[in-house]
Each structure stands twice: as C-alpha cells, then as structure tokens.
C-alpha cells in the first residue's frame, strides 16, 4: 500500500502519480521501442496493426466509453480515413499534409454526423450510425471513379518527408509514435473542461444540462474528436492493408471495434488498448482452439460468431468493466496485499436509470 503525499501543486495534475505506474509505463514503452530488435518482420507488422487498432479503439472509446454515444458505424470513419489518405497520396500530396487533411476531413464528417446525432436520443443514434456505416460502405462500392469500387484501390507507398519507409520496422515506429501521441493526447483531453463535459454528458445528460454544459455542442465535439482519431487510424491502416476494398469497412468491422472497447473496458483509454490486444489475439486463439477441439466440434461452421457472441455476453454479464476492470482488481489485490477480500468489489444493484423522454 502506497500513500501519496503531495509536495507540489503540480502533483495534482500529474499523469503518473505512483511509482509503480511509472515503472510499468516505462517498461512497456521500452519493450515497444525494443520490439524491432526482438521480433521478426511478420510479428512486427502484426504488432503495428495492433497499435493501429488501439488508436481506432481510443477513437471509439472517446465517443462510446467517455461520452456514452453508441456508434455501430465507426468503421465508416476508418474507411473515410483510409480512402481519403490513399486518394490524396496517389494524387501526389505529401504524407504529412495528406495525414493532416485526412484527420481534419474525418473530423468534419464526424461533426456533421454529430450535429444531426446530437438531436437524437439514446439508441436512435446507435441505429443512425449503423445506417451511416452501411451507406458509407455502399458509397465506397458505388463511387468507382474515385474509390475503385469493388475492384479495390491500391495504396501508394509510405514515404515520409521524402524518406521511403518500406521496411517493417520503419512503419512500426511510425505507428508507435502516433499511438503514443494519441494516448497522451486523449488522456490529456479528459482533464480539460471539454473532456470533462463529455463525461458529464455520459453520466447524465439532464444533470449535465442543469450544470451548464452545452450538451449538443459536447456531443458534436465528441463526434469530431472520435472521428479524427479513427480517421488517423484508418490512414495508418491503409498502409498495412496496401489494398482497399469496401467490404473491409463494413458492419462487421464496426462490430469488431465495438467488441474491442467492450471487452477491453468501457470508459478507460487503457481499456481500448487491452481490447486491441484481445482482438488481435482472438483469431490466433480461435484457430488454435479449432485444432485442439475434436473435428466434429472444431470444424463446425459458425463456431467463430458463436464464440464471438458468447465472449461479449459473458464479459458484459459478469465483468462490465472488461479486462480493465479485472486489471484494476488485480492491482488492488497486490497493492493491499493481505487485505483483499471477496467483498472488496461488490457490484451494486441499481434500478433502471432512465433519460427517456418518450
């Protein structure tokens, strides 16, 4: 058990207050930086992809976990990012400028959607975003003069400031730097008044409004931030895919993003990262499971969606805070070592909370 003694005013706003946290974060960062020296190219690319998904997860987490707005169409922003970036690159725009334009464009689309969505309530938004996702996928498919349609679109090579980043480790470092930037930025965001207003809107729209938060504007901002981060992830994803087809950005991808943040843990940036790790390991684990199980069970069609669904149900019913919640409990167990009891964390029963107006 460590007691925190504040000895300076800046202690109040310090990111990593505890020594343990500092050591852990430093270890993870060092390991990530050292990864290219330890891993083969294939695994390095997979790790880079994981980081990209972590960025996308943080994007969705900002919206769903922190602002309480469910989006079932977030892969659309991933797609908008990927397509915008690739099209700009193939028109000869340099990488950095293209990335900036992509992020701003994605944010603009997000704010536009957010402006409409801010007038909707609850699940209307979930379904509107689902429809938006399906429509954007259709647009990618039908607008073949720009997006290549279902034929696909080749992504230009990755060249940053005139340096071709063709090797796996170079691309990995690009992903890593941007991921760390996004994590840093997002955690800072939730300490600003803007970010706090997001959390207030999530916890109760009515109370937030009573406290003087401009709920509509907060929702629009949340959509903008979320779309910008997801668009950035999309641009990076394009370089990993190297060939874009509309189906990649369909409803299933949106659900995968959703699975990520639910299993990772709603309402925490760390949760999005955990979720990305989980989603990256899941296919490997499933294929392993298929080999281990007897053929009559392992080869059944539909085993994957079944397990996919079951995992979500089990996580939501038994551990609503996901892997992050488990992690918190584990940490508490070690920090308060002999004193952890079964009753240290008990889920409270609560009544139906409602903001229903109709």
């Amino acid at each position: 058990m460590q007691f925190l003694f504040k000895t300076a005013y800046t202690d109040d706003i310090r990111f990593l207050a505890r020594t343990g946290e500092k050591i852990r974060v430093a270890l993870v960062v060092i390991l990530l930086l050292a990864a290219p020296f330890m891993l083969q190219d294939y695994y390095l690319a997979e790790l880079g992809l994981l980081l990209v998904y972590a960025i996308a997860g943080i994007g969705l987490m900002t919206l769903t976990g922190h602002t309480g707005l469910v989006s079932f169409g977030h892969a659309a922003f991933l797609g908008i990012g990927a397509y915008t970036h690739s099209i700009l690159l193939s028109k000869g725009v340099p990488f950095t400028i293209s990335l900036l334009i992509t992020v701003s464009f994605s944010a603009a689309v997000g704010m536009l959607i957010g402006r409409s969505a801010s007038k909707m309530f609850g699940f209307y938004m979930a379904i509107a975003t689902l429809a938006f996702g399906i429509l954007i996928e259709t647009v990618f498919g039908e607008w073949s003069s720009l997006t290549g349609g279902h034929q696909g679109l080749a992504v230009p090579d990755l060249i940053v400031f005139g340096l071709p980043l063709a090797k796996a480790w170079q691309q990995y470092y690009l992903d890593l730097v941007l991921t760390l930037l996004v994590i840093w930025g997002a955690s800072n965001l939730f300490r600003t008044p803007t970010g706090r207003s997001f959390l207030a809107v999530r916890d109760s729209e009515l109370s937030a409004r009573c406290l003087g938060v401009n709920v509509e504007w907060a929702k629009i901002q949340a959509f903008g931030v979320s779309a910008a981060i997801t668009g950035l992830a999309g641009a990076l994803l394009a370089h990993h895919l190297s060939y874009l087809v509309p189906e990649v950005f369909g409803v299933l991808e949106s659900l995968k993003l959703m699975l990520m943040i639910v299993v990772g843990g709603m309402g925490s940036i760390l949760g999005a990262v955990f979720g990305a790790i989980f989603v990256s390991i899941l296919p490997v684990a499933l294929s392993f499971l298929k080999d281990v199980l007897p053929a009559s069970i392992g080869q059944t069609a539909g085993l994957e969606p079944l397990l996919f669904g079951l995992i979500i149900v089990i996580v939501i019913v038994f551990e609503p805070l996901g892997i992050y919640g488990r992690w918190m409990k584990l940490r508490f167990f070690f920090e308060s070592f002999p004193y952890y009891r079964k009753s240290s964390y008990v889920r409270q029963k609560s009544y139906l909370k409602t903001d229903r107006m109709r």
Binding site: V70, I127, V313
Partner: protein, 312 residues
Amino acid sequence: MRAMCRGHGPLPQPPTEEKVLLPLNDVIHLAITGIAQGCAYGLIALGFVLIYKATEVVNFAHGEFMMLGAFAVLTFSEVLGWGFWPAFVLGCLSIAAVGYLVDAQIMRRIIGESQASIFILTVAFGFIFRALAGMMFGWNTRSLDTPFDGKIAIGNLVEINSDRVAIIIATVLLVGAIYLFFGRTRYGVAMQAASQNQLAAFYMGIPVKRLVSLTWAIGAFIAAAAGALLAPMTQIDTTIGLLGIKALAGAIVGGFGSIPGALLGCILIGVIEPFADYYLPGIKGVSAYVVMLVVLFVRPEGLIVQTYQKKV
C-alpha cells in the same frame, strides 16, 4: 455486408436503356408486395416497441427471433409432419419461451448498466442465435410450405400471391389482439403500469419482473409469427434476421414511442423499397436506411411524435 440488403421477392427486371414508368398493374403489384413486406417489418417492429416500452432495451436481436421462428415452424411442420397450423402455433410458442428465458436469465441481470453495454449485449445475442440456428438447422436456404400458395385476382388487372394477403391479414389480426390485450385485460393494464413506472408498479403489487419477461415473450411470439408468414416471400436462411434492422429503421421513421407510428413507418419503408430499388439501382437494398437517415435529420423524433419532457 450484402446480406443486410436482401428483402422482398423477385422484382421486374429494370429496363437497361432507360427507366420508363411502370404499367399500372406492375405498380399495384409492387405496392401490394411492399405493403406485405412492410407489414412483416411492422410485426417485428411491434416486438421492438413493446420490449422497448417495457424495459428501455432495444433488442437488436429481435430479427433473430423472427429467423428462429421461421426455422421452428419449418421444423415442426416438415420434420415432424404436423401440418402448417399446429406447427405455426407450436413454433411461435417455443420462440416465445426463448424470449421469456432470455429476459429472465440474462437481461434481468444487467438492469442499470449503461445503455451502450445493453445494445452490444443484444447484438451479441444476434450473433449467437444466428450461429446456433446455422448449426441446428443448416446454413442452406430452405423453403416452407404454407397453405398460402394460390393467387388472388383483383378484377382483371393484377394477380396477387395469397401469401402477401395472408401477411396483411395476420398483421391486422395480431395488432388488434395486442390492442385489446393492452387495453382490456388485467395483464395488459398491469404491463402498461409497469412500463410507466416500474417501482411504483411494484409497490402496487404488480409482479414487474414476470411481466417484463412476459413482454419479451409476446414480442418474440409476434416476431416468430412474422418469420413464418414471411417465409414464402423471402425463403428461410440464417441471415433473414438482418431484416430486423430494416424493421428498426421503419420503427424509427414512424416514431418509436408509439405502436401505430412504428407500424406506419414500417409500411412506408416496405412500400418505398421496391420502387427505390427499381428506379435507383445505385442504392439497391439500402433505400430503407436512406429514408431513415433523411427522416432522422429532418425530424429526429420520427413522423408521429409522442413526447413529453422528463421532470427532474
């Protein structure tokens, strides 16, 4: 996800060179097909709205109840050879039991969690139901023999398949039954009370938990009936549950808070769809979502509004 874009039966092939106005009998044919499709959406939407009003849960897996219902009726009627009507009743009742259990065993545990978690939970149910249905009934497209395979002629203009008429009649009957149930019976009134204020209803001695589960059962029953009636038009496979999303779109177009609104919205979507597919093949299969988004942008609360401000 192309599977989300499937729907109605065969359409007249669009002319390749230019779009001409359809002849009148084709228009009537398309319109009646659309109304029938819309009624099927409406039946699913009815379940959505009932469950939403009772528990504030939007059951994204409701289309899967429809799919399971179609498969259950198919199994009872073909495998066991009981004929259509006994199989229909038994199939719908068994899906109602599934709906009851889903609420009593799982949904009840997560009352008070955030809305987002609950949405995602029901989406996950959809995945589980689809996978289980595929494992139990096979992944192939099946067709169900119903007593409605004749044609009904209206004047000498147009012939209508009687399966479409059956859906429309069944919708009217079921909606009438629901209306009477909620207006006239003890259970129905108790459900209304529980929907308005669960705690107050509980204090008045209403068994809220059981009634909520019963609402789920009723919703599932109606969806299963819709599935069985829709089977001649769409065939049966594991993806027809995704029509539920279109039903949801229809319900939103009409206004989720009211049952007549939801039905009207669904019929609207059902009618618009075949014409949009014919005239605007670019948005084939997604016209329902376009209509919904337009309505949401213009009138976020739906066409028929039933709204009041929440008191603090």
